[in-house]
């Protein structure tokens, strides 16, 4: 079976800075795959390249058999890839509801959209109580939930999550990770970027370790979590 997302040997630059140095990575349908690594390793750059905000100078990205590298970002969303960006990036000057409406921007099926608002509000009851609140006044955890709800509104086949645990209290991180597992069980494939390697490895099927633009380790998440190298570098011993 061909992989759902197939990243083949891509190189990504910011001007003269060579940020991604020939990485290859696959995500199969139904999986949770995590990409872990230290600050500046190139995790966000990888996700931004998949989403079409950056274009690889060399290499190719395929999604469901079609080449998507080089397509503009809006076409990649339409192909079925949605991203929850690092730092949440909600539209702070708009209401919770308007943020969700923008998440459904590519859709025209009114009834389906209504249903999905309900799905999001069931998954994140705290958002349901705050529909008309300015998104910028939400707490950090609520903003993360809004960013996830917004991304789900496009009905993605593949959900990219960039450090959803960032800046959240441990209890809330656990809640967010439970929701990620639920979303995956409901049929959405997940590519999860994390610095919180412990948590990420605990819910993922497979994992890749990124170091300064190169993948240095990959494999089964449980095995990586047990491996000496990973424990030393990312799991605090």
């Amino acid at each position: 079976m061909a992989a759902m997302l197939d990243i083949k040997d891509i190189n990504v630059y910011y001007g003269a800075i060579h940020a991604i140095k020939g990485i290859s990575l696959t995500v199969n349908e139904g999986e949770i795959v995590t990409l872990i690594g230290a600050n500046g390793a190139g995790k966000s750059t990888t996700l931004r390249t998949v989403s079409g905000l950056l274009t690889p100078k060399e290499g190719e990205i395929k999604f469901l058999g079609e080449t998507i590298s080089g397509l503009p970002a809006q076409d990649i969303v339409r192909a079925g890839i949605s991203q929850v960006p690092e730092g949440r990036r909600i539209f702070a000057n708009m209401t919770v509801m308007e943020n969700l409406e923008l998440g459904a921007y590519i859709r025209t099926d009114k009834e389906g959209i209504e249903k999905d608002y309900q799905m999001v509000f069931e998954r994140f009851p705290r958002l349901a109580e705050r529909k008309e609140q300015q998104a910028g006044t939400l707490s950090g955890g609520e903003q993360q939930m809004l960013a996830m709800g917004r991304a789900l509104m496009s009905r993605p086949k593949l959900l990219l999550l960039d450090e959803p645990s960032m800046g959240l209290a441990p209890l809330l991180i656990r809640e967010i990770f439970n929701i990620i597992v639920d979303i995956n069980k409901a049929g959405t494939t997940v590519l999860l970027v994390e610095q919180n390697a412990n948590m990420a490895l605990s819910i993922a099927n497979r994992a890749y370790v990124l170091e300064t633009g190169r993948i240095t380790l990959s494999g089964d998440a449980k095995e990586l979590a047990a491996s000496e190298d990973v424990r030393k570098a990312y799991l605090g011993g």
Binding site: P72, A73, Q74, F91
Partner: protein
Amino acid sequence: MDFGSHLIQQLINGISLGSVYALIALGYTMVYGIIKLINFAHGDIYMVGAYVGFFAITVAHMGIFPALIVSMVVTGLLGMVVERLAYKPLRHAPRISVLITAIGVSFFLEYGSMYFVSPTPRTFPRVFETEGLTIAGFTVNGQQLLIFAITLVLMVLLTYIVQYTKIGKAMRAVSFDTETAQLMGIDANRVISVTFGIGSALAAAGGVLVGVYYNSIDPLMGIMPGLKAFVAAVLGGIGIIPGAMAGGLILGIIEALVSGFISSTFRDAAAFAILILVLLFKPSGLFGKNTQEKV
């Protein structure tokens, strides 16, 4: 006439003039909001709008309302073409290059117009000869009523589009955070193009209304109102739509009061003094939050 009635008469004049400033200022502020460009060619777009209206009336023998709509459509399309040809190729260029290009576009429109329609001022036909209103001794003439009505309708329409329609929400999203808007599947280039279209159409309406009000148009007529509208946009808070509306009206009223009570020679000085004061004491404008902008 006693002081009170003189004051009210000047306020009426000021609101008429201010409405036109507001219509032009909206285009400045919307374009700035979305691509952080001070579009110095915007005053000339307003001039083109006045000419399109002029020819629609004189050559095509249209009435004022059809001429207004034709002018808004044609000039709106011109704004989109200018964006596509002059600004879009510079999307990732330093801001100063885009600014210089805008000044180039401005000269191009001014002197291109001189070539095609001659530099001599044209007399705008008297197409709107309704009786004014006289309420308790104050006259609001027919042209002023027309300006109030059209401006009001356009502002309500614009507010509706920006607040409640899909394209309006996309405009707000792109203007707040272009990259994240793209992650929602929004085609930022299309939204930018539509923004230029709407802003240019509003300026065109201002151009036609000024033609009706002052009866005279010429290829350089956009320079001063363009600058004034820029002041109005900064006064209200550049990038903020209600700010441009309020800034235009306030500026028009101040100018009318200065002309009426001091001397009309100080009118322009007053406008630019306001710009200096705003930049010194509240650079974010009346409606702006005092945040440091990262440049």
